[in-house]
């Protein structure tokens, strides 16, 4: 039961964020209208991306440090394979949340920044705002990671080279998510020219109590659900690895 606890907490928190986030009375902000509720879903998705990519890169680092032959004999001799699977699968779930974050962002921008434009216009959905470009680049960096993996036939070579790449991929998230979008002017609320001064994602001072009571639990909920998804994926792949081996 204890190992299922985080899953139950995750389900509960996301349920709370969905029900409470859509039905509580909240202040309406300018042209955002009711769409400001999207903050409970769009932002947590990006938190989940960062956590999952961190899990991924930690496994890649662990993989590269596994030079000691003894270590290979842990986990019944599957230590290396399992670590590589964990790096790959968490990046996959991270990419899923990255895509969800982009979609929720596009819908949100369509109804706030560009509600006066017809839906048939592409620039009603996507304005090449600095943060949009950064998010898209981060997605491409991880798609390149998958592509890189698919080019190798030798498992060990694949795992080793993609682990090195994955470290660079994760390091690139720091400027892409935390520095560049905050330093440049743009339409996004985190941009340098925002009324709150930009410079941060939603910080305590910018988020009133009505919002933060749903916002923070939602972040934890999305991270836990994302981790659960990763756990299911990784366990499936580990089982496949062991069963296919000398079967």
């Amino acid at each position: 039961m204890a190992r299922h606890l985080y899953k139950i907490v995750g389900i509960g928190l996301v349920l709370y964020a969905l029900i409470s986030g859509l039905t509580t009375t909240l202040p309406v902000m300018g042209p955002m209208g009711q769409s400001n509720r999207n903050i409970f879903y769009h932002v947590p998705m990006w938190f989940a991306v960062v956590v999952l990519m961190a899990v991924s890169v930690l496994n890649s680092i662990r993989y590269l440090r596994m030079t000691d032959p003894d270590y290979e004999h842990k986990e019944g001799g599957y230590g290396l394979g399992i670590t590589d699977i964990q790096a790959f699968e968490s990046a996959k779930v991270g990419v899923l949340f990255n895509i969800l974050g982009l979609i929720t962002g596009m819908v949100w921008s369509r109804v706030t920044w560009s509600s006066h434009l017809p839906a048939s216009r592409f620039d009603a959905w996507w304005i090449w705002d600095p943060i949009q470009i950064c998010a898209l680049v981060s997605l491409l960096i991880y798609l390149a990671y998958f592509l890189l993996r698919s080019t190798f036939q030798d498992e060990e070579q694949k795992a080793k080279i993609s682990a090195v790449y994955n470290i660079f991929a994760f390091v690139s998230l720091i400027p892409l998510y935390f520095i560049v979008p905050k330093m440049l002017p743009g339409a996004h609320p985190t941009a340098a020219n925002s009324d709150a001064g930009g410079g941060s994602f939603v910080m305590a001072g910018k988020l009133g109590g009505d919002f933060s009571i749903i916002f923070w639990p939602s972040i934890l909920g999305f991270i836990l659900i994302g981790y659960w998804l990763y756990e299911i994926r990784k366990r499936t792949e580990i089982a496949k690895l062991i069963l296919s081996d000398e079967a």
Binding site: P27, M29, G30, P31, M32, G33, N36, I39, T112, W113, S114, S115, H116, L117, D123, I127, W128, P130, I133, C134, L136, V137, L140, I141, L143, A144, L147, L148, S150, T151, F152, L184, P185, G186, A187, P189, T190, N193, S194, D195, A196, G198, V202, K206, L207, G208, G209, D210, F211, F215
Partner: protein, 125 residues
């Protein structure tokens, strides 16, 4: 490595570079009215709608004219070839994308409503 995959990787790398370039081109274009007038380029200008009572829409030409004050305080007339966008009154800041086609009036090809970044409580102003 299989040759086909290498080509795919190259395409991905090129696309990333293209994005990076479009990025630097786009982001540098946020500016102020005097700079826009001097350069004559297509730029982004963020500002607040001022002198609201003088704003008007001319249905015959389909032109909405209003005054915008940029972040350092310059006020310039702006015309937009469309009716006044809905939510225009509610947006606290507006981004106009366009250029000075004549030295007097900034022509906005596109308008974006910049949304507030403070998720305040009801009592917050």
């Amino acid at each position: 490595m299989k040759p086909g995959k290498i080509i795919q990787l190259l395409v991905a790398a090129l696309f990333t570079v293209f994005l990076a370039v479009s990025f630097s081109g786009n982001s540098s274009s946020y500016t102020t009215f005097p700079d826009a007038r001097k350069s004559g380029n297509t730029v982004h200008i963020v500002g607040t709608w001022v002198n609201r009572e003088t704003a008007s829409y001319n249905p015959e030409e389909d032109v909405f004219s209003f005054s915008l004050q940029d972040t350092i305080g310059n006020i310039s007339p702006v015309k937009y070839h469309d009716p006044k966008p809905n939510d225009f009154d509610k947006a606290e800041k507006i981004v106009v994308i366009g250029k000075y086609e004549s030295p007097e009036v900034f022509t906005a090809d596109k308008i974006i409503m910049k949304c507030p970044s403070k998720y305040g409580d009801k009592e917050v102003k």
